[in-house]
């Protein structure tokens, strides 16, 4: 990280902090109205669709994301991040898109994510799985 991207990193870390405390208004403010979202579990268009998806996720799971590596474009238009995600199932979710989970199950993965940014909001988010899923049954 260099001086030009230190502010971008803080902005991104604030986003992850809001996501981890399930502060929907705070992390939702990072999404452009017409955001394109290619996640591991869903492909969506629009802020409302992304937030609805995360409402569904958070009703079943506790999701925590840790930033492992950060690469910011000096012009602030893009971020590449290595993320460690931990999922804890709060209740049974047999239809979980990336594989069923039972209450108490945990699942972890490392992903690489690309964020495109315009006017201070994410316009596209894409994630690719780096490590195989591993987890622990309740």
């Amino acid at each position: 990280m260099n001086g030009e991207t230190a502010g971008l990193r803080r902005w991104f870390e604030d986003y992850l902090a809001a996501f981890n405390r399930a502060d929907f208004p705070a992390f939702g403010a990072y999404y452009a109205p017409d955001i394109v979202f290619h996640g591991q579990a869903a492909q969506l268009i629009g802020r409302d669709a992304v937030l609805a998806f995360y409402h569904q996720v958070h009703s079943h799971l506790q999701e925590r994301i840790e930033l492992l590596s950060f690469v910011g474009a000096p012009d602030g238009s893009r971020i590449a991040a290595e993320l460690h995600t931990t999922l804890l199932a709060l209740r049974d979710w047999p239809d979980m898109p990336t594989g069923s989970m039972r209450a108490g199950d945990t699942r972890m993965r490392v992903s690489f994510a690309m964020y495109e940014i315009a006017d201070g909001r994410f316009t596209r988010i894409r994630t690719a799985r780096f490590s195989p899923l591993h987890g622990q049954a309740a």
């Binding site: 690469v71 590449a80 690309m114 799985r129 780096f130």
Partner: protein, 134 residues
């Protein structure tokens, strides 16, 4: 030379199968982990791996985007492998002559000076394009 320009030169050397030039981009103890979980340690292992892939397939890489921050460069690359022979033991899946395999990958390159010290790739999108369908 910026890390971005250097990276595009590296990819050009890769597409040209210029092994002598490629060698100079890697630290002697470079570590590479590619999207299918294969881990290679040391530049000799990497060059041997890519040499085999290149004998079996014609691979072209296009840089979609790249940007560096500190000692890491992030890149999105598109690769297409065209099997020039039957390759039952291809790294990703068995290929028949004429088959194509497309990958879109996100890659992190850690570097020190002019050498890549660690490379890690994750596959965002993959598509098998059998010869019979083209």
């Amino acid at each position: 030379m910026t890390p971005e320009v250097r990276f595009r030169d590296y990819m050009q050397a890769f597409n040209a199968s210029d092994w002598k030039a490629l060698r100079d981009y890697y630290a002697p103890d470079v570590r590479l982990v590619i999207g299918n979980g294969t881990e290679l340690n040391g530049r000799d292992a990497i060059l041997a791996f890519y040499g085999k892939v290149k004998r079996q397939t014609r691979r072209t890489i296009e840089v979609v985007q790249c940007f560096a921050d500190g000692q890491t460069l992030a890149a999105e690359i598109e690769s297409e492998f065209l099997a020039v022979e039957d390759v039952p033991d291809f790294a990703v899946r068995p290929m028949a002559k004429g088959d194509r395999y497309y990958l879109n990958s996100f890659v992190f390159y850690d570097f020190e000076g002019e050498h890549y010290t660690r490379i890690r790739a994750a596959t965002f999108r993959r598509e098998f394009r059998p010869a019979a369908a083209s």
